[in-house]
């Protein structure tokens, strides 16, 4: 994988991970270009597209788009599931992850991604193994005197919303077949 981007429906970049050395200027240009392309696509379109010499695999979870750039010989479908597994990891860690969690705890999101993917390749696919590493880190950390209030924990869970929407779509499809 060359890079992974996470951005919102409004075109705000929430997370970016580059697995090959890229100049900052090029990064910005690529992000802008890709966001434009992906956000312009309609639902039900295919999740893959060719872009420059790369293949783009993207998927939307509620307000968030997850977007991976992979190489010619890489497998698109399994990349989709890389995205899904990452969402599951975030969800498990934050407990019903929402966009705000990723904004306010961006460093945690990076740590989780690092435990899951390294240099663009999967390090481990087991949810338990990945989260164990993060969990250990949390145990190691010193207790701060007054934990901050968490006013932002009112966001909408992206995975939950995704599941609901998928179910509705399935029901709709079944209804269509009748």
């Amino acid at each position: 994988m060359r890079f992974m981007l996470l951005f919102s429906r409004q075109g705000k970049l929430r997370l970016q991970k580059w697995y090959t050395a890229t100049a900052e200027r090029d990064k910005k240009k690529m992000v802008r270009e890709l966001m434009q392309i992906v956000l312009a696509r309609k639902p039900k379109m295919c999740s893959f597209l060719e872009w420059r010499d790369l293949k783009i695999v993207y998927k939307r979870y509620a307000s968030l788009y997850f977007c991976c750039a992979i190489e010619e010989q890489d497998n698109e479908l399994i990349t989709l599931e890389v995205i899904h597994r990452f969402v599951e990891l975030l969800d498990k860690y934050f407990g019903s992850v929402c966009e705000l969690d990723i904004i306010f705890n961006f460093e945690k999101a990076y740590f989780i991604l690092d435990e899951f993917l390294m240099g663009g390749e999967i390090q481990d696919t087991s949810k338990k193994s990945v989260l164990k590493a993060i969990e250990q880190a949390d145990l190691l950390q010193e207790v701060t005197t007054n934990p901050p209030p968490l006013p932002w924990r009112v966001g909408v869970s992206v995975l939950f919303l995704y599941k609901v929407i998928t179910q509705i779509e399935q029901i709709y499809d079944i209804w269509l077949e009748f």
């Binding site: 295919c46 989709l80 599931e81 460093e107 190691l140």
Partner: protein
């Protein structure tokens, strides 16, 4: 696990992020950020030592600001401090900052490397993992130099924890990708292969990525992985969906590992060992069978994981291309997907089928789906899926269905998305050419292309139709008739005018018998389009007109009238003006015989690879299956244009007059008619012919025939070259235009352009004085047929001379130019070196890092390499260096050299006799202010010469 709430919340950070989110405008945001930056800076600079927590908080804020897209130029030191903290969270933030914001500040890298070294040897697995992550995230060459030998040891050590092994494997992979030369194979390699047998699935998953990459580069050393991979795969495929516990994903056992195993096997040919092969075929059959079973879950994750394995298995089957049974089964499976409800599956099925179409075993099976694919082209709502459908149609096309497919593609073109039109046009053009049984169909198809998508018809396409028409006399009459009809349309595309002009100019006589298309009608038709066309097209039409004069003497008066009118003969465009003047002159002074010779029908083009194919290859990059396939079948069938040898740009050369203002004589064949080569070559390798007198662009005067005869050249011997001639020459190695020479009397300017092995040089001689120069002569010391320049140069005036240059073979000595004139009474005699150097005949070649190093290795004979280490004569500014290297003429390649400080270039030097491939590497050392320059060329004299030339440039 609501880890966040119990966690290390940094209140200040949360407040800052909230503030930023509450900003109503971009300006407010920037203001808030600047305030924060000032605050952090003062905190970092303050006398009070910050505690770890504050440092962590501020570094985190900086990171957040950076990720918002703002520049950060401080905080690195504090981040490095955090690295050496004993508190995990502080260390973690430090590493995160370094990974995201690292720059090549060497001082810092040393500190970072130190911290990493400590963590790697700490035997604390969490610290070791953090360090490995950092190395992988940065992945720079410095990191590779420091750790490439250490990591393999961690990877295969018996007491390394599983989690560390996983990180080590992927870290090593990253380093191998960036600096393969620093990761040395050794005893560890065989032990890495055995990680495929590891009990821990996570370790296998991580290790296999490394093994796959290493196998691609060193297949022999890793051969043993094939049987291990097969047995691992077989165990997974046959396991029940619950066997693998956490490694089962939505009822699919270890989908990621399965895909990776199948991918690894694609690095090798089918296993030779019968038992292994049998087991593998069994696995593949099981995977195909499972596709037919009812799904174990309705969730899309289940079907995606299952199908990911299936597609990877199909890729392997296609890669082996030896099991007809499996190939046909794969094709049938994909056929089912073509009509699947999921867009993703339809897309992938179309894509995979494209490669299946190139296998002889499955080509026919793929063809049975033609109707579905055509339907997809028409009805898919998503352009990327339609694009795949178009690709597949192209791949499945053969003689039996060509007419149907070309017709469908043409009709799709009318509504196709703009982004893919050009490629579609190329494909239609190629198919039409490749499967043309009768050429009238081919001509019709191309003209239709121009009509439907004229804007997207690139030069290659219309060059090609002209090549084919010229080479095949059975289609010339038809082509003339068809273009004549097509031009009747009130609005026709400029490309149609070009094709029409060229073809009528060559073959208009074939339809001139019909009074409806009599010569004058043809001419008037063409000329009615003239005013709407761009300069290159007008230039082409002018050439067509002069050809008409030869074909139909009765049109001579009309055409001369047209050429003579002010809008032609005084056209502000030099090229058009020159043509009008020359053609008018030619038609009035040359006898019919001379005219007939000069304006003879174009000789057939040499049969070479289609220029369109070359273009499509360039577009798609090398290795695209459909293109290779096309080439292959071409070689077998010897269909339309026979031989497949590479000879780019036949057409571009032949009709270059239409596209560029360079050698205008090509189309008309003047070049061959002009008497050149009378004297034996003195410099041996360069042929310069000076046949145009002071060109029409020279402001001095109109062309004057008397100039040919007046004043005999002075009899004195040419002076020896000026002492500074070499220095002057060096100024022009990397540029084509500028002032070559200047003294109190004379200034000589140069403009030159090169294309392949040809060049044209304009020399401008300016008289800086107010007094006339008399007996002005210039003599290039070469094999030339010279017409002298104007013998008198008025004070303050400038005259121009044009040299046409052809590079016959490679050379080291620049040709000399001798100039003599009388200023006052004194004879001035000076000799310069003409700035023609071998690099002017460079054609840039783009290539990937892999190709570059492969070729680099191929050129490994000692005499093919020339190297020089020298002190920098000028500043070592990157942009200046880049500009110079680009000026050199070769392609400057990015992302090839693992060290981003270095420059590498590649190109081909075109001489008449041969092509010389050249690779260049320039390694600056800014500390020592030195360079090391290395050249490797397929011809040793070229390496040597280029090295000499370039060493003077930096």
């Amino acid at each position: 696990m609501p880890a966040v709430s119990k966690g290390d919340g940094m209140r200040g950070l949360a407040v800052f992020i909230s503030d930023i989110r509450n900003c109503k405008s971009k300006e407010a945001e920037i203001k808030r950020i600047n305030k924060e930056l000032a605050n952090i800076r003062s905190k970092f600079k303050g006398d009070k030592a910050l505690d770890g927590y504050s440092k962590k908080k501020y570094v985190c804020k900086l990171l957040f600001i950076f990720l918002l897209g703002h520049d950060i130029d401080f905080g690195h030191m504090e981040a490095v401090n955090l690295l050496s903290s004993n508190k995990y969270t502080e260390k973690q933030i430090g590493y995160l900052f370094i990974s995201v914001l690292v720059n090549s500040n060497s001082e810092l890298i040393r500190l970072i490397n130190n911290a990493i070294k400590n963590d790697l040897s700490s035997r604390n697995p969490t610290f070791m993992c953090l360090a490995l992550h950092c190395i992988a995230n940065v992945g720079s060459r410095e990191m590779a130099e420091a750790f490439a030998s250490e990591i393999p040891r961690i990877l295969v050590a018996g007491d390394t924890m599983d989690s560390v092994k996983q990180s080590a494997a992927l870290c090593l992979l990253r380093l191998y990708k960036t600096s393969p030369d620093l990761v040395l194979m050794g005893e560890w390699t065989s032990r890495v292969v055995h990680l495929l047998n590891d009990q821990h699935m996570g370790v296998v998953t991580a290790a296999i990525s490394l093994i796959t990459c290493l196998s691609q580069k060193n297949p022999d050393e890793f051969k043993t992985c094939v049987s291990l991979a097969v047995s691992r795969l077989s165990r997974i495929v046959s396991s029940a969906s619950t066997d693998l516990q956490d490694y089962t994903y939505y009822f699919v056992p270890a989908p990621w590992l399965s895909c990776k195993l199948l991918r690894l096997l694609q690095c090798y040919p089918p296993p030779e060992d019968g038992a292994v092969k049998g087991r593998l075929v069994e696995c593949l059959e099981t995977i195909l069978n499972k596709a037919q079973e009812p799904p174990k879950s309705k969730k899309v994750q289940h079907s995606n994981a299952k199908n990911a394995i299936l597609f990877e298995a199909i890729s392997l089957i296609i890669h082996y291309d030896s099991e007809p049974n499996l190939l046909v089964r794969a094709c049938n499976q994909l056929g089912q997907f073509l009509q699947h409800r999921e867009t993703n599956l339809r897309y992938l099925a179309l894509e995979s089928m494209c490669t299946l179409a190139s296998s002889e075993f499955s080509h026919e099976a793929v063809k049975t789906h033609i109707e579905t694919v055509i339907n997809a082209l028409k009805t898919e709502r998503d352009v990327s899926v339609r694009q795949r459908a178009a690709d597949l149609l192209y791949a499945m096309c053969d003689r039996s269905n060509a007419k149907q497919i070309v017709a469908e593609m043409l009709s799709y073109l009318e509504t196709a998305d703009y982004s893919i039109r050009e490629e579609m046009v190329l494909k239609v053009a190629i198919l039409a050419e490749k499967y043309a049984v009768d050429y009238s169909w081919y001509v019709d198809t191309i003209l239709n292309l121009i009509r439907i998508a004229g804007d997207y018809v690139s030069e290659e396409v219309w060059y090609r139709v002209i090549q084919i028409v010229i080479n095949r006399d059975d289609v010339q009459g038809y082509a003339a008739k068809t273009v004549f009809e097509a031009l009747q349309a009130p609005a026709c595309h400029e490309n149609m005018v070009k094709v029409g002009g060229y073809i009528l100019g060559e073959f208009g006589n074939l339809i001139a018998g019909d009074p409806r298309s009599s010569p004058l009608v043809q001419f008037n038709l063409l000329h009615s389009k003239f005013h709407l066309c761009s300069v290159p097209t007008r230039a082409l039409l002018l050439s067509a007109y002069i050809k008409f004069i030869n074909l139909f003497p009765e049109t001579k008066a009309t055409i001369q009238e047209v050429l003579r009118c002010d809008s032609q003969i005084r056209n502000s465009d030099v090229e058009l003006q020159q043509r009008a003047v020359e053609y008018l002159k030619l038609s009035s002074i040359a006898s019919t015989d001379v005219l007939a010779t000069v304006l003879e029908e174009m000789p057939p083009f040499p049969e070479r690879e289609s220029s369109i194919l070359a273009k499509l290859k360039k577009k798609k990059g090398p290795g695209t299956v459909s293109v290779t396939d096309l080439e292959d079948s071409k070689r077998e069938g010897g269909e339309l244009n026979g031989g497949g040898e590479r000879g780019p740009d036949t057409a571009a050369m032949a009709s270059s007059n239409a596209s560029t203002p360079s050698p205008s004589a090509d189309l008309l064949g003047i070049r061959s008619a002009a008497p050149v080569g009378a004297a034996p070559a003195s410099a041996g390798s360069l042929l310069v012919d000076v046949f145009s007198e002071a060109g029409p662009a020279a402001p001095s005067a109109a062309v004057n025939d008397d100039g040919f005869l007046s004043s005999a050249p002075p009899s004195e011997d040419p002076a020896p070259p000026l002492p500074e001639a070499d220095e002057l020459l060096n100024k022009f190695v990397c540029k084509n235009n500028g002032v070559l020479f200047e003294n109190q009397l004379l200034q000589i300017g140069i403009k030159s352009e090169y294309r392949q092995n040809l060049g044209r040089m304009y020399l401008f001689y300016g008289n800086k004085t107010s007094v006339q120069f008399a007996s002005f002569t210039t003599t290039p010391q070469l094999n030339v047929q010279t017409k002298p320049v104007e013998p008198l140069v008025e004070g303050g005036a400038q005259i121009q001379q044009v040299l046409n240059i052809e590079c016959l073979t490679d050379f080291s000595d620049a040709p000399l130019l001798n100039i003599k004139f009388r200023y006052g009474g004194a004879l001035q005699n000076l000799t310069l070196k003409l700035p023609v150097t071998i690099n002017k005949f460079f054609q840039p070649t783009e290539m990937t890092s892999h190709d570059f190093f492969q070729r680099w290795k191929q050129l490994s004979q000692p005499q093919q390499e020339a190297q020089k280490i020298f002190k920098a004569n000028h500043g070592m500014d990157t942009e200046v260096l880049k500009a110079k290297l680009l000026g050199l003429g070769s392609a400057l390649l990015d992302d090839v050299d693992p060290n981003p400080e270095n420059y590498v270039c590649a190109g081909v030097i075109q001489t008449k006799g041969q092509q010389v491939g050249c690779l260049l590497r320039l390694e600056p050392n800014s500390q020592a202010q030195m360079y090391r320059l290395t050249l490797r060329c397929s011809k040793d004299s070229v390496s040597k010469r280029l090295c000499e030339l370039l060493a003077e440039q930096f």
